[in-house]
């Protein structure tokens, strides 16, 4: 029975608190209000804590991000006043299947601030894949787990998200918003 005695198992805090920044980053980008993001992350940590006994996986970050994502989307649904909710469909919301030539933008000259503004203008589903892939560095397969979509959809959604971000960056840089930059 000796084997049962030794070190304590890792606590929830030890396993999950290191991913607080990742959780906060995703929630901030999805909800866009620091206060909402804090509420959502706190809610997600409490839910994750309650469900920790069922956590079997090895990837604590993906597990936590899945919960954060779900909390954020239910908050967005609650806040939406409209009578009927529009379900996101990649084919409908992403009309441009043949993305514009990425060379249309001199990317090395684009300021971080401009990218941030462009990203804020995208729909949450597009912001989500860009945040998970470009900022958090998740692979397609990890995003598929977190976002609950097939890996092929991750690839096409990410392509559309980048194309749309490019369109926004061009509009911001060339349109009336230029003086703000």
């Amino acid at each position: 029975m000796e084997a049962f005695a030794p070190d304590e198992p890792p606590t929830f805090e030890q396993l999950m608190l290191p991913h607080l920044d990742a959780a906060y980053n995703l929630a901030s980008w999805l909800l866009r209000e620091p206060h909402d993001a804090e509420d959502a992350v706190q809610d997600a940590f409490l839910r994750a804590h309650g469900a920790f006994a069922r956590f079997r996986g090895v990837d604590g970050r993906a597990w936590l991000l899945t919960i954060v994502r779900n909390v954020c989307y239910s908050r967005m649904r609650q806040n939406r006043r409209g009578p009927d909710e529009v379900v996101f469909q990649d084919e409908v919301h992403g009309s441009t299947h043949d993305p514009a030539d990425a060379n249309a933008v001199a990317w090395h000259e684009v300021k971080s601030e401009l990218l941030r503004k462009g990203l804020e203008r995208l729909q949450p589903e597009y912001r989500e894949v860009i945040v998970l892939h470009e900022i958090e560095g998740l692979a397609y397969r990890e995003i598929a787990n977190v976002s609950g979509i097939p890996i092929g959809t991750v690839m096409s959604r990410l392509a559309r998200a980048r194309a749309k971000l490019q369109t926004e960056v061009l509009a911001l840089a060339g349109g009336g918003a230029t003086h703000e930059l």
């Binding site: 084997a3 049962f4 005695a5 030794p6 070190d7 304590e8 198992p9 890792p10 606590t11 929830f12 805090e13 608190l17 607080l20 920044d21 959780a23 906060y24 980053n25 901030s28 980008w29 993001a37 804090e38 992350v41 706190q42 940590f45 409490l46 804590h49 309650g50 920790f52 006994a53 090895v58 030539d101 990425a102 060379n103 249309a104 933008v105 990317w107 090395h108 684009v110 300021k111 971080s112 990218l115 941030r116 990203l119 860009i130 945040v131 892939h133 470009e134 900022i135 958090e136 692979a139 397609y140 097939p150 890996i151 092929g152 690839m155 990410l158 392509a159 980048r162 971000l165 490019q166």
Partner: protein
């Protein structure tokens, strides 16, 4: 591959999501096709800009403290909401992974049942990877029929060297390979064709114990597992069990 095949893959290439063989095909095309090469350049530049310049919003320090305090309150025994792991689970945590389930199984005398459960979960895992690989074959497959291309591709990606053999002469041509994750560790998956069907052969070191020798079917798929030279092999396909058995036998013979 022509330009129409290449272009949808340029972003996956830039994201490092292509297998090496597909990547090499793409690079060969890009060297010969200035149009596609220019597009690829733009996509790379965009990818770099997004990766380098999009800000990560870090949690404020006082919020971190708040969460920490909240979690400690939840953990304290006086908290009615405290969710403690039940004793058996704590014991499992202490031992960790497979060692735990084996020790526990010995303790309660469920050795056989437990090994069977492990084999079952392996099989479920392998079947689901097999199905997924068929759905995402455009993305994941290493398209190469050449064992001398497939084998080196695994070098540096795995901590072991999977034996790669082409069984074209026995009617099971090698179609490619890819990286997989099975039994809690990285594994090689080799893909073979049988008429219009695919066979996935998963190979991984038997560090968690050798896979039981078995042949069985589940959900319309057949599987055949064996251990050889310190490696586990698990073949999964929708082809008839007898054919899969033939394949497994041919492979075992080739690896020796």
């Amino acid at each position: 591959m022509n330009c129409n095949d290449i272009r949808p893959l340029l972003e996956a290439r830039s994201d490092g999501e292509l297998d090496l063989v597909r990547q090499l095909e793409l690079e060969a095309h890009l060297r010969a096709c200035p149009d596609c090469a220019l597009r690829a350049q733009g996509i790379d530049a965009r990818r770099n800009a997004l990766r380098d310049s999009l800000p990560r919003i870090a949690a404020p320090p006082q919020f971190r403290e708040k969460i920490r305090a909240l979690l400690r309150a939840e953990e304290s025994p006086s908290s009615p909401r405290a969710t403690r792991r039940p004793p058996v689970q704590r014991a499992l945590w202490n031992l960790g992974g497979i060692a735990a389930s084996i020790a526990l199984a010995l303790l309660i005398g469920y050795n056989l049942g437990n090994a069977r459960a492990h084999a079952n979960s392996l099989l479920d895992e392998a079947i689901s990877e097999h199905v997924r690989s068929l759905q995402a074959s455009h993305l994941m497959d290493v398209a190469s029929t050449d064992q001398h291309t497939v084998k080196p591709w695994f070098a540096g990606k795995l901590d072991f060297s999977p034996p790669v053999a082409d069984l074209a002469d026995t009617g099971y041509p090698l179609a490619g390979g890819r990286l997989e994750h099975i039994d809690g560790r990285p594994a090689a998956a080799l893909i073979f064709h049988r008429r219009l069907h695919a066979i996935n052969l998963f190979i991984w070191p038997a560090t968690n114990g050798p896979v039981q020798e078995y042949r069985r079917g589940k959900d319309g798929y057949n599987a055949e597992g064996w251990s050889q030279g310190g490696l586990n092999f698990l073949a999964v396909s929708e082809i008839p069990a007898a054919e899969l058995g033939q394949f497994a036998e041919a492979y075992r013979g080739r690896v020796k």
